[in-house]
């Protein structure tokens, strides 16, 4: 807790690091100039075939697709989470391959409760009614006439990491933390539409959002959020929503449970009482050791993980003395990321990492730490365990695994945000671990 002292230590150590790094780099530079490669690189010596023949005409792939070599960068699913013939199920995002803070639309995690609906935009209608003077029906074109806003927000399934309350289960970053993605959304604030409808502010306390899909997925929102930043969105990263994301229109509830962001939206109704829809009682409730469960558990709390390295993309090609960037993501549905700290001993001691790029509210935030690989990936004599810990501007900090389960127990399924740890073994392989008493 003696933070001033530790900051001073950090300064000294970073100065030392600077000299050390300079020394390493000069040695490497020297080596580069004197050492001749034993063999010529075929990739340099010979013309590649793509450089000697016509490429594709511009008439091909008028809607572009990724390079065929990127075929392993894909959503993935597991039978463990295959409920309802894969129609009440999830496919998760390869965040070990993610760059920056935007998830490409084709890789955005996909979750549905009755399959991915394919809504005909010509037959799309949005009905808004209940406790208002002037209920309304909108076509898609009419909805898009409202003044729009564009915001970059993550959407996270509150069960992200929820399989790992009792112990780590997945030796995979994609499955441990990939129940989330981040995109730039375009739509209209609900409050902008409500302005003209004469909502009874004394009576209207809750809003039901209902989908038009096979499961008619519905959730209740409190009026506070409706009048703050809740949006009805049709644009995702500059194009229409994908069917998996609720084409043509979904709700976007910035920072809150992904399940609240109702897809294939058809209806908003206001009432003085909440609804008790299936996905806000039977599921998406967090059971505590007392036997009571938290309902209406809205915000995804402050969270983070190391992204590079990962079990999928380890450090097996690196050796002692190599300088590498440790990179990660931090996010909070409560506000904006302010600090990310990184530990090399599983969360016992921390140094501060740098945030990088745009730092936006309720949005993925990239962080970075430059590091010189130690011998055998051992840190202070022990096998290195990378642990990140984020803070947000609401003042929250991620709990340790132990702190979180001491309060929540291990049966609550949802909203797990204890720190994530990744052990690097002597070969540079990365394994998912947790530091906890049992």
């Amino acid at each position: 807790m003696d933070n001033k002292k530790s900051e001073k230590d950090l300064e000294v150590s970073s100065r030392r690091n600077f000299f050390k790094k300079t020394a390493v780099m000069s040695a490497a530079a020297l080596a580069g100039t004197t050492l001749s490669a034993s063999e010529d690189d075929h990739a340099i010596i010979h013309h590649p075939k793509w450089g000697q023949t016509w490429g594709d005409p511009i008439t091909k792939n008028l809607y572009g697709v990724p390079s065929k070599y990127e075929h392993n960068v894909t959503r993935r699913y597991t039978k463990l989470l295959a409920s309802g013939n894969y129609r009440a199920s999830i496919a998760v995002t390869p965040i070990h391959e993610s760059e920056g803070i935007i998830t490409p639309n084709g890789l955005f995690f996909s979750r549905s409760h009755g399959g991915v609906a394919h809504v005909d935009p010509n037959e799309f209608r949005l009905m808004i009614h209940g406790m208002m003077k002037k209920p309304i029906v909108l076509t898609l074109d009419q909805l898009k006439r409202y003044p729009s806003v564009t915001r970059t927000h993550f959407i996270e399934c509150p069960a992200n990491g929820g399989q790992e309350w009792r112990a780590p289960q997945f030796n995979s970053l994609q499955f441990s933390k990939g129940f989330m993605s981040c995109a730039q959304w375009t739509g209209v604030y609900i409050k902008t539409i409500l302005k003209d409808l004469g909502l009874d502010m004394e009576q209207a306390k809750w809003m039901l959002a209902e989908g038009s899909d096979n499961s008619e997925m519905g959730r209740t929102l409190p009026i506070d959020k409706v009048l703050d930043d809740a949006m009805i969105v049709w644009g995702q990263n500059g194009e229409a929503l994908r069917p998996e994301q609720g084409y043509p229109v979904r709700l976007l509830v910035p920072g809150w449970e992904g399940n609240l962001c109702v897809k294939w939206l058809k209806r908003l109704e206001f009432s003085n009482e909440p609804w008790y829809a299936k996905e806000e009682t039977s599921k998406y409730t967090a059971l505590k050791p007392s036997g009571k469960a938290i309902q209406h558990f809205y915000a995804n709390e402050v969270n983070s993980t190391v992204v590079k390295p990962s079990p999928e993309k380890p450090w097996t090609d690196l050796k002692a003395g190599d300088v590498v960037e440790i990179e990660g993501l931090a996010w909070s549905g409560m506000g904006t990321i302010t600090k990310v700290d990184l530990s090399f001993d599983g969360g016992n001691n921390y140094v501060e990492a740098s945030l990088k790029g745009l730092v936006l509210p309720k949005c993925w935030t990239r962080w970075s730490y430059l590091y010189t690989i130690p011998k055998d990936f051992r840190h202070n004599g022990k096998q290195m365990i990378l642990t990140s810990r984020a803070m947000d501007d609401a003042g929250y900090i991620q709990p340790t695994v132990q702190q979180e389960v001491d309060v929540m127990g291990v049966e609550s399924v949802y909203h797990r945000n204890g720190v994530e740890s990744w052990e690097v073994n002597e070969k540079g392989e990365v394994n998912h671990v947790q530091i906890r008493k049992v």
């Binding site: 930043d229 009682t281 921390y350």
Partner: protein, 386 residues
């Protein structure tokens, strides 16, 4: 006419009432400049970024877009409202006229639900259990926690033991069931199925234990008398006139939901853990990933640059489309098939291709041609690939 000022009032009022609950200085003093607009007051315990001086957080805003009226659309007709406003609220508010008995419900269940939800709602086949025993017994398990005793049974969460409201069941059956062919049940059928759910969970309506009364009839009139044992098993209380305030108060206390607040310059940087026990993924963990995990950027050689093969054999289609239900019901080669094949394979093919009222989707939800799907049917019936 709804006035924006009023909504601003409402938001700022809740912010003021919350301000007292927030520890002073919890915002820290070194927040990046683009978050300096953040103020406490989000109902879920976070901050909000009020729109002020053309800005919300780091985003510029055209405030005129918020102040001017931009009315589009039209008022819905009475019939349109009736067609879509079909939700059911707590206590059965919104239920239509109708009724159904436990016996009728069991009959419908056996023909339309059992293939996914199992005998007496026991689950299996990838669909949830609808009952795991008498509701009261299940509710008593909700304090079970495998953290304190890893060998113990976990909590048993199902309709009778966990759900606070029976209205949720009626509403979901009506809107979402049968899962492959939803919104095909009549109101009376939904009453009957809900009555059957009450029976297999041994729930009571008034002083009648429905589990002991096959002739019990559930209707719009007696729905409100259903007793759900775990009605008070949830926090914060969202119902009633204090509902919203209860939520605001609950999430203003981090300890309620396992969260921690700390000032930035007081966060722990050294000796932060009271344990160094490492728990690793046991036995390699779950690795049943599809497609299999790989970060290779080479093309599979045998396919001459094609990433995946699209041709489907019957077994692959079975595994992808049919196994979830059929592994536990009319499994490949099962003797249960005799009851169906006796009427001739043409009837079996026709049902498989068109789908059945019992919930079997057309061609199992695959996009195969009729003749290709018949090969899948042959496999499921015989258990062999011919």
């Amino acid at each position: 006419m709804f006035k924006l000022e009023k909504s601003k009032l409402l938001i700022s009022a809740s912010a003021v009432s919350l301000a007292a609950l927030f520890a002073a200085g919890c915002m820290g003093n070194a927040a990046p400049s683009n978050t300096s607009y953040a103020t406490a007051g989000d109902i879920a315990g976070g901050v909000v970024y009020p729109i002020k001086n053309g800005q919300t957080g780091p985003y510029a805003v055209n405030e005129k877009a918020l102040d001017n009226s931009v009315y589009q659309g039209r008022v819905p007709t009475a019939n349109e409202l009736k067609a879509w406003d079909k939700d059911i609220q707590a206590g059965g508010v919104g239920l239509p006229e109708g009724e159904g008995s436990v016996e009728e419900g069991e009959e419908i269940y056996e023909s339309k639900c059992v293939m996914c939800h199992g005998d007496f709602g026991s689950g299996g086949g990838g669909y949830p259990s609808l009952s795991k025993g008498p509701a009261a017994e299940g509710q008593a398990t909700l304090t079970n926690n495998r953290w304190k005793d890893p060998e113990a049974d976990g909590p048993s969460r199902y309709f009778g033991s966990y759900w606070p409201e029976a209205s949720t069941m009626w509403w979901y059956i009506k809107d979402g069931m049968p899962h492959p062919k939803s919104k095909t049940l009549t109101d009376n059928e939904v009453y009957a199925l809900t009555a059957y759910m009450l029976a297999i969970n041994e729930l009571s309506v008034g002083d009648v234990n429905v589990g002991e009364d096959d002739e019990f009839v559930l209707s719009k009139d007696n729905f409100k008398d259903i007793i759900m044992p775990n009605k008070d098993g949830f926090e914060p209380k969202v119902h009633g006139k204090d509902g919203l305030n209860n939520v605001r108060k609950y999430f203003a206390v981090p300890e309620n939901f396992g969260a921690i607040k700390v000032k930035e310059d007081e966060r722990c940087m050294t000796n932060c853990q009271d344990t160094d026990n490492i728990v690793r993924v046991a036995n390699g963990g779950i690795s049943d990933f599809h497609p299999p995990m790989s970060v290779e950027r080479s093309m599979p050689k045998e396919n001459h640059g094609m990433a995946v093969t699209t041709k489907k054999d019957p077994v692959a289609t079975y595994k992808a489309n049919c196994s979830m239900c059929h592994d536990s019901y009319l499994a490949p080669g099962s003797s249960e098939w005799a009851a169906y094949t006796g009427k001739g394979m043409d009837k079996v093919y026709a049902n498989a291709i068109a789908g059945t009222p019992g919930g079997m989707p057309a061609k199992g939800g695959s996009s195969l041609s009729d003749s290709d799907f018949k090969l899948v049917v042959n496999y499921i019936v015989s258990g062999k690939v011919k």
